[in-house]
Amino acid sequence: MKQTKAVEDYLESIYLLTKLNGYTRVRDIARFLNVKLPSVTEIIKKLQEEGFVEHTPYGEIKLTDEGRRIGLETWNKHKILYVFLKDYLNVEDETAFKEACLIEHTVSEETVEKLQKFLEELKNR
């Protein structure tokens, strides 16, 4: 199962958009990530091949269970890393958000959970 950076980013976005609007279309993703439509279609095809999303008859993109799992996990990692960079390391907002987005692809969920626990203990000391 190949999970590249783009795959995880897209699944994260589709997860958020679906949670928000109930459904997601290709052009919603394009607007959300500020990417051109053809690039989005490319990646969606790959996601379909890997079994992370399905195309519904209405032209919407639906997450499979596996796709949702990855999307949620990626967003969780993104959030924890962002809070770490911004609140604890005082990194500037936009930089922290972007860099958290990059770092999330290189660490496992377990590691990030350990980071979260560590930060909790730090706060409670």
């Binding site: 949670k19 928000l20 959300f32 907002d93 958000f97």
Partner: protein, 83 residues
């Protein structure tokens, strides 16, 4: 485009996408407070004022709210084009 509320320029309209809260820990008080003041996921608001420092002023549900920078940087929004 996906952005943090703290990074949206004055005059833009945005849709609230999500709040950045650490997962598995319940909802912090300030998020409930934001929601009670009318900022819910899916809502559309206009950025009235956003300087480099200082709180962000938004217009939502007919009233103006001032949101501290720290909180504003925990709100993920999507910029929507006017119209």
């Amino acid at each position: 485009m996906r952005k943090l509320l703290s990074g949206v320029k004055s005059g833009k309209k945005v849709k609230v996408v999500d709040f950045i809260v650490p997962p598995h820990h319940g909802v912090p008080q300030y998020i409930i407070r934001l929601q009670e003041m009318g900022i819910l996921r899916g809502d559309i608001m206009t950025i009235e004022r956003n300087g480099e420092f200082g709180p962000v002023e938004v217009e939502i549900k007919g009233t103006h709210l001032a949101i501290g920078r720290g909180i504003a940087s925990k709100i993920v929004v999507e910029e929507i084009d006017n119209g």
